[in-house]
């Protein structure tokens, strides 16, 4: 077991974790933050994407023990409060950017950092940035529209 202190969505957690515990399972089972979804469990689908020290990463490809002293953001920390969604969440809702919603948390966390780094993206850049997140429902069209809309709103 390893003692870790990790900051998730601004809250500091002190926990004992098993050596082999994946970050994705730690978030879901230990911290009960089940918004981070687990799809392929080997780094391909992108559903488990979280923000680690400011960069989107696959939480299924990291151990919880590696997060000691680091900062993590998950989809639970995205909205300002219950009534005010993050502009990306609002745009996904407005554009029907999700159907089953399984891939959505990973897409939101990937796009959050993407829009911070690329506030005025063209469509090709958005599609490239989305390439690491699989969505089997939407065909991506509405997701791309949502990211465009969110970018526009966030620039204002």
């Amino acid at each position: 077991m390893h003692p870790i202190t990790v900051t998730v969505n601004g809250t500091k957690y002190e926990r004992q974790v098993e050596d082999r515990l994946l970050l994705s399972d730690f978030l879901r089972h230990d911290l009960l933050l089940a918004g981070t979804h687990v799809g392929c469990e080997h780094g391909v689908c992108g559903a488990c994407t979280v923000i680690f020290d400011g960069a989107p990463v696959r939480s299924c490809l990291m151990f919880a023990a590696q997060t000691d002293g680091h900062r993590i953001e998950t989809v639970e920390g995205l909205a300002v409060d219950r009534d005010h969604l993050h502009p990306l969440q609002q745009a996904m809702r407005d554009c029907h950017g999700l159907q089953c919603g399984y891939c959505t948390p990973g897409i939101l966390m990937t796009m959050k950092v993407f829009l911070e780094e690329t506030p005025n993206p063209d469509e090709a850049q958005i599609r490239e940035a989305l390439s690491g997140n699989l969505c089997r429902c939407t065909g991506y069209q509405h997701i791309v529209e949502a990211v465009k809309l969110a970018a526009e709103r966030m620039r204002k």
């Binding site: 050596d19 469990e41 080997h42 780094g43 992108g46 994407t49 680690f52 960069a55 989107p56 990463v57 696959r58 299924c60 490809l61 990291m62 151990f63 023990a65 590696q66 990937t110 993407f114 490239e128 940035a129 390439s131 690491g132 997140n133």
Partner: protein, 252 residues
């Protein structure tokens, strides 16, 4: 590890070893990349863009941003996946790798480092510390191309090449490497040699591409037969050599 390909009894997290991360762009003709340097750091590193154009061109093909944020150069090279881009590139550039153990350190040429699929010359008690790569010389051009089913997938075939011209605009040296074309990264010795001292023209390039096709040994998969991989290797070699030649002529 997620695939249980390896089930280590002991696992040591080397991520806190900050001194292993980063690009050392000294005054010499070579550039050193620490084993813990992440793909994302290379993508944003001006020295890499300037001196290692082959790597800069290949980086966007390597998996996805979320993977490139964590994946390290050393981890990739020590893993030695035959379909991976970096081993083929390091081999093409003629890099060398520094391994260290409690007994001391040694430099291993890329040509000796990659032994086979997921197998390197590293001893069980050794650790990969850094890779040293030659900076692109004057009058040279590089090109990396690959074909994959989807962006970020492993390449069906990838080709890395560099061309250096002499004062008369002829090929002084060409180097050609391929990924997913055999048990490990493949260096197409004969094809590269066939270009030396000649113009980089259509016929010479077509000849080199034919030699590449005879030098590789692709495994085939459900995504592409061996025959298709071989065909693709020829086509991409022609395109990449043509591009590298153009770039060499355009460079000072």
């Amino acid at each position: 590890m997620n695939f249980r390909l390896t089930q280590p009894a002991i696992l040591i997290d080397i991520n806190p070893l900050n001194e292993l991360a980063g690009v050392n762009n000294g005054a010499g003709e070579r550039l050193r990349v620490g084993a813990l340097t992440r793909y994302r750091n290379l993508e944003r590193d001006p020295a890499t863009a300037q001196h290692l154009p082959l790597i800069a061109e290949a980086l966007p093909h390597i998996a996805h941003p979320q993977i490139r944020n964590r994946g390290t150069i050393g981890g990739n090279l020590a893993h030695a996946d035959p379909a991976s881009e970096m081993p083929a590139i390091v081999l093409t550039l003629g890099g060398r790798l520094r391994a260290q153990s409690a007994k001391g350190e040694r430099w291993i040429d890329a040509a000796d480092f990659f032994v086979g699929a997921l197998t390197t010359a590293l001893e069980p008690d050794e650790m990969l510390m850094e890779v040293e790569l030659p900076k692109a010389p004057p009058r040279s051009g590089a090109c990396f191309m690959e074909m994959s089913r989807r962006r970020g997938d492993f390449a069906i075939i990838g080709v890395a090449c560099t061309v250096r011209l002499d004062d008369h605009g002829r090929c002084a040296e060409a180097r050609i490497g391929l990924c997913n074309a055999g048990d490990g990264p493949v260096f197409a010795t004969q094809a590269a040699r066939s270009l030396a001292g000649r113009a980089i023209g259509k016929n010479e390039i077509a000849e080199a591409a034919k030699l590449v096709q005879s030098e590789i040994d692709p495994g085939g998969s459900i995504h592409a037969s061996k025959e298709f991989q071989r065909h693709l290797a020829g086509v991409l070699t022609m395109r990449a050599l043509t591009k590298a030649g153009e770039r060499a002529r355009g460079s000072a």
